[in-house]
């Protein structure tokens, strides 16, 4: 018989204040049928399949979840949401996990978080996204010299086609500072 001491998972009751709670709420009716995993185009690249991820969420395995790359690999294709026989909003639940990861600035998801952050900064500043500005900022932020290299040829192509204006600033500017602030205000608990 296995004894408790050599278990690698230890289950703790999840308290309602936990950040996972709202996500657990979203997927409670899950019955582990695996339709999500079977449908996911990115499952092949995931460490935990979506079904396993939801299982970990239900079991409150927060550390395990945020060690996993699974949710960051969700490309929002909505197939699982469409197909889930329980009608669960799984893509939204994936997004919610991404949000927690972003909020906690978790190093594991550096690229996605930086990508999104820089994107949103661009939006916040100009109202519309300036691809050149945002990509440059992203490349700077990831601090990995290889990443921009991968895009170099594409970037040159785009510039050559005149699709990415070399000018950093958009023609029109509609800063969304107020909206960002208000959202932030509403989301910050009193």
């Amino acid at each position: 018989m296995k004894t408790a001491t050599n278990l690698d998972v230890y289950y703790e009751a999840v308290s309602a204040s936990d950040k996972l709670a709202p996500i657990q709420e979203m997927i409670r009716a899950c019955m582990q049928c695996g339709t999500c995993t079977g449908s996911c185009p990115n499952a092949f690249a995931m460490d935990y399949t979506p079904r396993q991820l939801w299982r970990l969420v239900l079991l409150g395995q927060k550390d395990e979840i945020f060690r996993s790359k699974t949710f960051s690999l969700c490309s929002d294709c909505y197939l699982c949401t469409l197909r889930c026989p329980r009608g669960l909003h799984l893509t939204e639940a994936m997004d919610a996990l991404k949000q927690i990861a972003a909020g906690e600035n978790r190093a594991e998801y550096k690229y996605s978080i930086l990508f999104n952050k820089n994107f949103m900064q661009s939006v916040r500043r100009h109202g519309r996204v300036k691809e050149m500005e945002f990509m440059t900022n992203y490349f700077t932020a990831v601090k990995n010299p290889l990443v921009p290299f991968r895009f170099a040829s594409l970037g040159i192509k785009l510039i050559a086609k005149g699709k990415v204006s070399v000018s950093w600033l958009p023609k029109a500017r509609f800063p969304l500072e107020k909206i960002f602030q208000k959202v932030n205000e509403l989301e910050t608990p009193p």
């Binding site: 018989m1 296995k2 408790a4 278990l7 690698d8 998972v9 230890y10 289950y11 009751a13 657990q24 409670r28 009716a29 899950c30 019955m31 582990q32 049928c33 695996g34 339709t35 995993t37 079977g38 449908s39 499952a43 092949f44 935990y48 399949t49 079904r51 396993q52 299982r55 970990l56 239900l58 079991l59 469409l82 197909r83 889930c84 026989p85 329980r86 009608g87």
Partner: protein
């Protein structure tokens, strides 16, 4: 003796309807059995094989005593019972009145084919130009507008599908017997009013409809329409929704009450469909979305026209109604259709697959790929298609699909002689019924059916080879892709179309899912007294449960009839006093129907006469044109009156058609009807004619058939069938809810009942059950039932009493009982019901007994109700399901434990929402509508962890807490649960000592439960007639289900108790003692245990009421000491002789 016979209406002639009808008819009531389809048998007419035996067996439902009252052959082919009137193609229109006195309106679609005249030659089919999908083969083939609804029915007249028939009359011309008469009601009499403000719409509609021969008028506005309606009678109004001034809805409101006979169809633009739907609520029949073309409009108008033209109303009076509305199935082509159903030819539903397996199916039972005709090699079943799917608003399980899929896989494997790979993709394998678990394990282990726990979402097709590709994920998380030749979608139940209408017209409630709602603790009682529910109308069920429920429904209907004064009829002998011809030399009159000119054209009639009259016993041979017509029959009777034969042989077609006529004729001329016989000549000689056989050959064939009939008649000994006296009392053993229910049911029919209970109080398990999953109160039920039993003047309760011994057989048992004071008493009774119950199994698994925090489900329930347990103080509870169950030696599912776990979990969550509850399960057996509680429990944050049988949870406990370690199947890692309480679901074991069962001639199955005569078709009977079982002694069941078995068992006894003497069939076995060598082989061979040896007299005895006339004894007896009345050896030899002559 005054005979008050009640009458009941049974709606739906599927398996449940047939069972209910037969039960009521056998008790002596008159039954009207209707079905809206043109055949009986319901869905089962399409299914050839049933689990767990993998073949049919429907005939086992036929009456066992007084057998001659009904047909005694394949029940899938036909049902005839003298107390049952079957009207097909008939629908219910309304039910008015009170229980005991309902006025029911029926609508009959008269068939344009006179069934008595149709010989089934099929020439009409060749003539018919219309071809439509064949519903019998689930649309896998086509049929004509005139067709056989099912290929095997008897009688099997052709019917015309008037919704597609063009009335071209081709069939009418072809019919050789003039059986087809297409009514010439002109469409011109059908007046249609088209109301639309747009001229172009009015004009085109008028043009299309006029072309079809309808009378069409037009109105350009609502006002105009109302004026026209007041001047002229219209049958149909096509009404535009959006019109200036007065819109369609307003017109509808103004006319609907004034012209109740007017059908209204709304015409609407896409945008206003919702308004049109509203209009239907006011009273419009349907709507059409503009723009529409004639292809949409014309069929709809035709259908409305036909319904009006073809329907005839009929009012009947009945005391009670059994409503078996049936079920529909999910259409996988509806909605997203990710399986490619209807797109890929080899994606079929499991209903269609039944037809593929069937010898009468479109491919004659050959398992081939549709399309290229290659032998199937790999088939996949996908479970839960349209079930357990919240997106499809189907938060329920369809009960039967798991077993259906396993059965299909096994039958398919058998057909393919092993050269077939079968895989079933499932979520939970719900093998909750008796013997199902073993069946499943055998399928896997012995026959190699693969079961994979995975929900498949999409079926793709390989473009080049047509293979179907399934992608799924296994438990370990591995995605896999597999190819199959065929994919079978096991589709879930849906309420029948028109369920709402049916509920409205019958005045009964539906549940939120659209199935019929039953009352608390009943599976048959609808919300309206006097209307009982049967079959899958209350949720899909397997044959066994359907049959039990139908008998229970019959019982409750019978109660209503009885209470209303329609007491069970005491049957007077139906034997007709007639001339004693036994001592006379046979004088046989042979009458041959010429079927117009067909017979003389094919046969040398003179030669027939010559050959037959060579036999001195043949009194004469006569030819009559069409005995089936009134004139022909008159001629026959005249001829009989002239020659006064003492035996009559009629050579014609369709012998069953003459059954009633013969009875009448016999009565009139004082001849026992069994001395009049009909042989079917037509079907054979017509076949020979088609095959162009020479005339001599056909003549010989016909002669030989007639000679066989003569040989049979010569040897017939008309004697009254034997009967046995009945002591009209019942014994019920066991005073739990099942026993009490059965006792009350019988006593309510006026019969004395002895109820024997070994404990000092009645109630059994109800004494500790506090609540049910669906929120009903067992305590109240117990209180009521116990009081009724104790107060009932017809029930003698014997508590602290046991059965000592019993002798005898159906009709008269003598049972000795002994009470606490060891006082013996002998009871005489006709029937016995074993309701000895069951109990929660004891266990020593998972550390039970070592710690007070490890309890069973029952103990938890008791702790919760007596409240030594304060749920508000608990933090965490673990529950383990299937303890010692679904593995040898208790290799069965106890059916109630999963529901119980949910019940406790939800109850605990209600008291204390913060308790963490973990349910460790193998397969959640929340079958049927209980599935919604499973969902509810998950939503209430109960954590469900599936464990593998091979890796059971590990438990470590001290006196305060327990630690459960379980490998979660999904993440495949051990999870540890610290719990304050561990609850074990140990399942149910029966309280039916083998010795007790055997005392009554019954037996127990390998798990100690009552062994049914047949698990599907005679689920509460023992093989020995007169002994029945119900409740937990029969099988694990919840309260309502147990009660239903009790009602069913009671109903089965009423068939016997209702008679002073039990009449056997005419064909029963007998023993010629002088020839008998007492080898006793007949006793072994008798499948009905009807034979015994009388030690005192050294004789083999036959109980005529138990004997079913199967002839096994006569076959095994080497020297004819065992004989079957009506099948004498001389007679058989002579018939064989005639046949080969």
């Amino acid at each position: 003796m005054a005979r008050k016979i009640g009458k009941a209406l049974v709606v739906g002639a599927g398996i449940a309807g047939i069972r209910a009808a037969l039960d009521l008819a056998e008790s002596g009531y008159g039954v009207i059995l209707i079905d809206k389809s043109p055949h009986i048998g319901g869905i089962l007419s399409q299914l050839d094989y049933q689990f767990p035996t993998d073949h049919c067996g429907m005939c086992k439902m036929l009456p066992l005593v007084d057998r001659d009252a009904s047909s005694q052959y394949c029940l899938r082919k036909g049902l005839f019972h003298e107390n049952i009137d079957i009207t097909l193609s008939t629908e219910l229109v309304s039910i008015k009145g009170e229980p005991g006195q309902f006025q029911v309106m029926l609508k009959e679609h008269p068939n344009w084919v006179t069934s008595d005249l149709c010989t089934g030659c099929g020439e009409c089919v060749d003539a018919c130009p219309i071809e439509v999908p064949d519903e019998f083969n689930s649309g896998l083939g086509t049929r004509k507008a005139i067709y056989l609804p099912i290929p095997h029915a008897i009688p099997n007249p052709y019917v015309i599908d008037y919704t597609v028939c063009t009335r071209c009359g081709a069939c009418e011309e072809m019919c050789p017997t003039g059986a087809i008469k297409i009514p010439e009601k002109a469409r011109g009499d059908f007046r249609i009013l088209v109301v639309d403000d747009e001229l172009i719409v009015r004009d085109s509609l008028k043009e299309w409809l006029a072309e079809e021969g309808f009378a069409v008028d037009m109105a350009a506005s609502g006002q105009e329409a109302i004026e026209q309606l007041s001047q002229q009678t219209y049958q149909l109004m096509l009404l535009d929704l959006k019109m200036p001034e007065m819109d369609g809805v307003e017109v509808l409101q103004k006319t609907i009450d004034e012209f109740p006979d007017l059908d209204v169809v709304m015409m609407t633009a896409y945008a206003t469909v919702e308004t049109a739907v509203e209009a239907m609520k006011i009273g419009a029949l349907d709507y059409l979305v503009k723009p529409f073309d004639p292809e949409t409009l014309i069929p709809m108008v035709k259908r409305l026209y036909q319904e009006r033209a073809a329907s005839e109303g009929r009012q009947i009076e009945v005391g009670a109604v059994v409503l078996c509305g049936g079920t529909a199935f999910f259409d996988p082509a509806s909605g997203k259709n990710t399986f490619g159903y209807g797109i890929f030819p080899n994606v079929v539903t499991h209903l269609e697959f039944e037809r593929l397996l069937s010898g009468t199916g479109p491919y004659h039972g050959q398992l081939v790929r549709l399309g290229d005709g290659q032998a199937l090699q790999k088939i996949a079943w996908i479970q839960c298609v349209g079930s357990r799917d919240l997106q499809l608003e189907a938060d329920y399980c369809s009960n039967i699909c798991c077993m259906a899929a396993i059965k299909q896989a096994l039958v398919a494997k058998q057909k393919a002689r092993g050269n077939l790979d079968t895989t079933i993709f499932y979520m939970d394998m719900r093998t909750f019924g008796k013997s199902f678990e073993r069946y499943r394990q055998q399928a896997e282990a012995k026959h190699g059916v693969r079961l994979k726990r995975a929900r498949i979402h999409t079926v793709d097709r390989h473009a080049a080879c047509g293979d179907l590709i399934l992608r799924g994920v296994d438990l370990a998380g591995q995605s896999s892709e597999e190819r199959f030749d065929m994919v079978v979608l096991t589709v879930g139940q849906r309420p029948i179309g028109g369920a709402n209408d049916l509920s409205e017209l019958a005045g009964i409630e539906l549940n939120s899912l659209g199935f019929a709602q039953t009352e608390a603790f009943s599976l048959t009682r609808s919300s309206r007294s006097g209307i009982e529910l049967g079959g899958s109308f209350t949720g899909l069920k397997d044959i066994s449960d359907s049959v039990v429920q139908a008998s229970a429904a019959a019982l409750n209907a019978s109660r209503i009839l009885h209470a209303a004064g329609g007491s069970l009829a005491l049957k007077s002998s139906s034997f007709i006093p007639s001339t004693d011809v036994l001592r006379e030399v046979p004088r046989i009159l042979v009458i041959v129907c010429t079927c117009g000119v067909r017979l003389p054209a094919a046969v040398d009639t003179q030669k027939v006469i010559e050959q037959l009259t060579a036999d001195p016993l043949v009194d004469g041979v006569d030819f009559v044109e069409q005995t089936c017509t009134a004139a022909g029959w008159e001629h026959l009777e005249k001829r009989v009156a002239e020659s006064k034969p003492n035996r009559i042989l009629i050579g014609s077609c369709l012998p069953y058609v003459y059954k009633r006529k013969i009875k009448d004729l016999g009565q009139r001329i004082g001849l026992n009807p069994s001395l009049i016989d009909v042989v079917d000549l037509a079907s054979e000689y017509q076949k020979h004619v088609l095959e162009k056989e020479p005339k001599e050959f056909i003549t010989q064939n016909v002669t030989s058939k007639l000679e066989m009939g003569i040989a049979r008649l010569k040897w017939i000994e008309p004697s009254a069938p034997p009967d046995i006296p009945v002591i009209q009392r019942a014994l019920v053993i066991g005073g739990g809810v099942a026993g009490m229910t059965a006792a009350l049911a019988i006593a309510d029919h006026g019969f004395q009942v002895d109820l024997v209970e070994q404990n000092d109080r009645l109630g059994g398990n109800l004494n500790w059950l506090e609540r049910t999953l669906d929120g009903h109160q067992p305590t109240e039920l117990l209180q009521q039932t116990r009081t009724s039993v104790e107060k009932h003047p017809q029930i003698q309760v014997h508590t602290q009493t046991r059965v000592v011994r019993s002798t005898g057989e159906v009709g008269h048992f003598q049972t000795t009982i002994t009470d606490a004071q060891n006082t013996e008493q002998t009871l005489d009774h006709a029937v016995t019901i074993l309701a000895t119950g069951g109990r929660e199994a004891a266990t020593s698994a998972y550390g039970y007994g070592t710690s007070p925090v490890i309890v069973t489900q029952k103990e938890l329930e008791e702790k919760l109700s007596n409240q030594p347990l304060d749920a508000t103080q608990l933090h965490s509870i673990a529950m383990i399901q299937c303890v010692d169950s679904r593995e040898e030696p208790r290799n069965y599912c106890s059916r109630v434990c999963c529901a119980n776990a949910l019940k406790h979990a939800l109850h605990l969550k209600e008291i204390n929402p913060d308790i963490q509850i973990y349910i460790l399960y193998r397969d959640m057996m929340t079958y049927g509508f209980d599935e919604s509680y499973y969902t509810r429990a998950r939503k209430a944050n109960v954590i469900f962890i599936q464990y593998q049988f091979t890796e059971k949870p590990q438990v470590m406990a001290n006196q305060e807490s327990v630690r459960v370690t379980v490998i979660d199947s999904i993440i495949n890692r051990p999870i540890q649960i610290e719990a304050d309480l561990l609850v074990l679901a140990t399942g149910i074991i029966p309280n039916l000592p083998t010795q007790l069962a055997e005392t009554f001639g019954a037996s127990v199955d390998e798990d100690g439960f009552f062994q049914e005569a047949d698990s599907k078709w005679r689920p509460v009977d023992s093989l020995k007639e007169g002994v029945f079982a119900c409740g937990l002694a029969h099988s694990p069941r919840n309260i309502a289900e147990s009660i239903t078995t009790a009602e069913a068992a009671a109903q089965r006894t009423l068939r016997i108790l209702g008679h002073e003497r039990l009449s056997a069939g005419k064909v029963v076995a007998n023993v010629h003692h002088s020839l008998c060598s007492l080898c006793e082989r007949c006793i072994d061979a008798c499948p009905y245990r009807a034979r015994s040896i009388d030690m005192d007299q050294d004789r083999v005895l036959v109980n005529p009421a138990m004997c079913q006339g199967c002839g096994s004894c006569a076959a095994i007896c080497p020297n004819g000491a065992s004989v079957l009345e009506g099948f004498l050896e001389q007679q058989m030899l002579e018939m064989i002789d005639a046949a080969i002559g």
